[in-house]
Symmetry: D2
Subunit: 145 residues, 4 copies
């Protein structure tokens, strides 16, 4: 349904992801790149937790945000960049164990793209759901300016 | 306006914050605790950035989420814990430099509390705004179960 | 997957809906009630529009809000009521023509239920998507107090 | 702080508002127009209520959405139009009596504007808070196309 504008979208996303130092900091891995769909896995680590020992809600936001962003980016032409306008996340259950965030495009657009992500734990529980708005910046590269 | 139910709320919050390993990981510091208001500072670090060199949007979410949560927690009685139900964040400008997240309670409640946070950069720019819903868990301690 | 706690949930929802004077005002009709799923249809009317002649964004919110709420209510035991805590809606395309809002439960819960709704126009376009949080009030009837 | 780009913004907004048939339907009135700030009042009417006799949550969304939209529109140049991208609303207390929605711009922008609204009841209670994203459509008039 969603045809990528750039046939090299997967390589472009992998290069971009490799520059995300914050993803390296938390140990998140890009495990699937498809047109309009991206998955990010996060192995459990004790230093990602909040005061009760669950994965921090903001960390859930980080991987869901990134999965949505690259799902949207997969449908963008080469040579542009994308910024997160806003997102909303509902935390559905306390996150224990390793996690996967599955992002997908709800509605692609030339200027704005709407994406969603679902976060699941390795015991199958549905941990979080996110709805996100992104904006394309045509002619602005996806690299430090 | 907002009277804390527990006179020892500040000590309780500082102890809880000290157990947040995810906050230590990103180097965030709890710098103000008042009834219904909490501030968290985040010194800039290169390993907190996304692919364009700005602070990752999910990291903004982490400090804003935590500032809202403890703002709400400051008005809670001792012996309960609080979970984030959901939040929405608008990213207003690319985040460079060190940041401060200022959380405050919009509407306290016995079961649900609504809080907001504003994130500012050290150049004075308004980086993000968050609106959050939290739920009290009476009789459930704020420590690993 | 979602088993209703009250076998008479459909009759209970139809009675409750009939008391929603705001739904009568805009001409919205309850067209499907199933466990965890509700549909509301809104025939186009000129007096539902905003300044450009499209259906008002707040009207989209009204039918999506109500579809989410009754989807959640369908799984609740008799004798309680439900309040909307918050919702977020993305408007995906200008709404012309008649609309349907399809609400479904994402995660049921004793206190909080998370639901979503999709709004479609009669030309098949995806008009809006909503994510909503609802809270049960046990022992509080769903009628004027 | 927010200087209007069009000195005739107030007349432009009043004309636009007068075309909002959905606002007429619910009896909402535009009572204040200032640079970056708009107020809309809604007298209580029985036909605006939900099943428990409170003002319908979607009606709260309608007036808050419109107050945010015109707050943003007040800072826009003449000859463009504005669409709602998304909004999130927290309902803070059941709405009884007449209401006022106060919209204000959080961050103006050439393409995107972020606004917020607070809804109060005539007994002083804080009924709802909204955070909204709007997008300018340059060269697209604010009238039916």
């Amino acid at each position: 349904m969603n045809a990528p504008a750039d046939p090299h979208f997967a390589a472009r996303i992998r290069e971009s992801y490799a520059r995300q130092k914050a993803m390296a900091l938390i140990g998140a891995r890009l495990t699937l790149v498809a047109p309009g769909r991206v998955e990010i896995e996060l192995p459990f680590r004790d230093d990602l937790t909040q005061q009760k020992g669950f994965v921090h809600g903001g960390i859930l936001g980080m991987i869901a945000d990134t999965a949505c962003g690259y799902a949207a980016f997969s449908l963008m032409p080469a040579g542009c960049s994308l910024v997160t306008v806003e997102y909303k996340i509902n935390i559905l259950s306390p996150a224990r164990g390793s996690l996967v965030a599955r992002g997908e495009v709800v509605k692609p657009g030339r200027t704005l793209t709407i994406a969603r992500a679902e976060v699941y734990a390795d015991d199958g529980s549905h941990v979080a759901t996110m709805l996100q708005t992104l904006m394309a910046l045509p002619g602005r590269p996806d690299t430090p300016e």
